[in-house]
Amino acid sequence: MEETLEKILKTYHENSGNIITILQDIEKNFGYIPEEAVNWFAKKLDIPASHFYGVATFYSQFHLKPRGKNIITVCRGTACHVKGSERLINRLCLELDIPEGEETTSDLKFTVEKVNCIGACGIAPVTLINNTVHGRMTIDKLIKEIKKIKSE
């Protein structure tokens, strides 16, 4: 971990970065914001850890808990809502056995999350499965995709 953090620190100095760019780099490298990483930067830069957490909890891009290996993002934009995205989420959580209020399965295989709008409203409802955009999603198609991932 130390090595990666050093690299992030170097980019921070080179590009006159700030807390947000540091957190974005941490998230990119680890998939979430580990406490150790925040403490490490707090010490190195002499910025209170609370400042990092203040920013990290403000923006939805940052996650404080480890996330699943496969990430399914359901768009909750207006067009997707009108075309039934709420039902997709309900069914996904049921299918993957994710308890209410949680996002990730206990075996860390899947994370189901919502996004405000990815701007592909013309092909709503839209779902991202590991960053690939799938348009005109249906419950059937979604279940098939999950089965495919599970069997891999």
Partner: protein, 592 residues
Amino acid sequence: MEKNIIIKVCMGTGGVASGGEEVLEKFKEMITKSGLNVKIDTKCNAQKVGCRGFCSKDVLVDVIVDDVKTTYKHIKPDMVEKIFNEHIINGVPVNEWLAGSEYNDFHNKQTKVVLSHCGDIDPEDIDSYIAVGGYNAARKAILEMSSEEIVSIIKNSNLRGRGGAGFPTGLKWELGLRIKSDVKYVICNGDEGDPGAFMDRSVMEGDPHSVIEGMIICAKATQSNYGYIYVRAEYPLAVKRLQMGIDQCYTRGFLGQNIFGSDFSFDLKIFQGAGAFVCGEATALMRSIEGKRGMPSPKLWRSAERGLWEKPTVLNNVETFANVPKIILNGANWYRKLGTDRSGGTKVFSLSGKVKNTGLVEVPLGITLREIIYDIGGGIEGGKDFKAIQTGGPSGGCIPAELLDTEVDYESLAHAGSIMGSGGMVVLDENTCMVNTAKFFLEFTQAESCGKCTPCRIGTKRMLEILERITSGKGKEGDIELLEELGNHIRATSLCGLGMTAANPVLSTLKYFRDEYIAHIKEKKCPAAVCRDLITFTIIEEKCKGCGSCKRVCPSDAIRGTRKSPHRIDKELCIKCGSCFDACKFKAILKV
């Protein structure tokens, strides 16, 4: 005889999601193959283009043979071979896959200014932009015009901020020029956060250089040497293409020191947002670039006086900047004549929801909602009845059928209880519950409220609780009045635009669809059969053929029955997900 053949594959987010990349690869493969086996003299070139706006028909492919353009719709990789052999080699278009009159109607009724190059040029190649006159406006502005001249043209064009508030762009730039400071900034707001809006994404992905060029002109007009493009985290393709564009500009000397050989310098950087709707608000956006929590501040002074790092800052939306090069080249009069007396030019809308033709629509201001929905959008999907159109995202409202002849501009939409906003238009049909829609938007603003001011933080929470109560059948007498009271207070006392407009979806639906609220509260019924707690699913025995499709899709094993005899739903086990309703081919499931 040498034929000049160009193939264009739509590679916007919509195109890529529908398999654009595979289609492009297949074309390239066919071209290479034919070069070996088939002997024809062709200059054949397959390129990627940005979003052309008609996303419901993706993947769209243009085949241009000696300037004759043919457009195909819904193209899959396995269809490429036939198109290649029949059309490109033998010269006979594959008729059954043509996009046809629908495609032409959709485009012919629009007036394309901002989108004129989207879907036509390769967004990743600066030469493709230069070939259509790109950077002529910036060169002219830098080398031949004074800052005052640029400001005066923009003022005369009547261009108003396309981000939603509609502030006259020329006035903003004039103020930016007048304020003296050693450091000044130009910011492009690409934090398109409204759910249901994707105009800016398409411009950034399809014609990124037009935004960069607009910013260079603005920098000259306001004498600013530094710029930022703030792009939201959810738009990775836009970030990639803008970055490529910026790099290309530095190489050509269009950005950096002494641009176009003049003594003017302008540096431009991208800042990627981290996912917060409120960062679309100017002061919050600037805090975000500074690396802080994106919370708005009271507007004690204009950003043009004190903005980013307390320095004078001119901030405009993506679409506003994209208009600028065209105004410089074609003149203020040309642009002003396109719109209405109060607002010049065209506006791009993203038309989505329950309408036949979804996609991007660019129209002159002053057009009616009816023309957009029926003439361009092709009417309502599946022959259903129109119920309302939602404009302006979570800050806007719902406009009912009786106001369909409203002219689209900043003032008329505000008068109808909505706003123009950044340009999202979501069509709602008879199967949409208006209370649920209002709840949907309030959930959104409530979650995105930054928490700084009390009316927005707590007021929206209380309103949402009331709406949750109503949609779950626990609504009380007086709830409607309480919603109105709260809504008006939040509007009057919130700190920033997010709070001030948060109640709009509720207040506008209360104004036009009050009876739906009353049905939820008094009769405990959802007229559109959407709210889960207020509906039941039953199987109509006479219609059920006992095929078992519903039983197979039911996630909670609530459906009982043997093959070829009528099934029934166990109400205790039913979770009302609606899967059976969708699966039944005989319309034997009743949802009330």
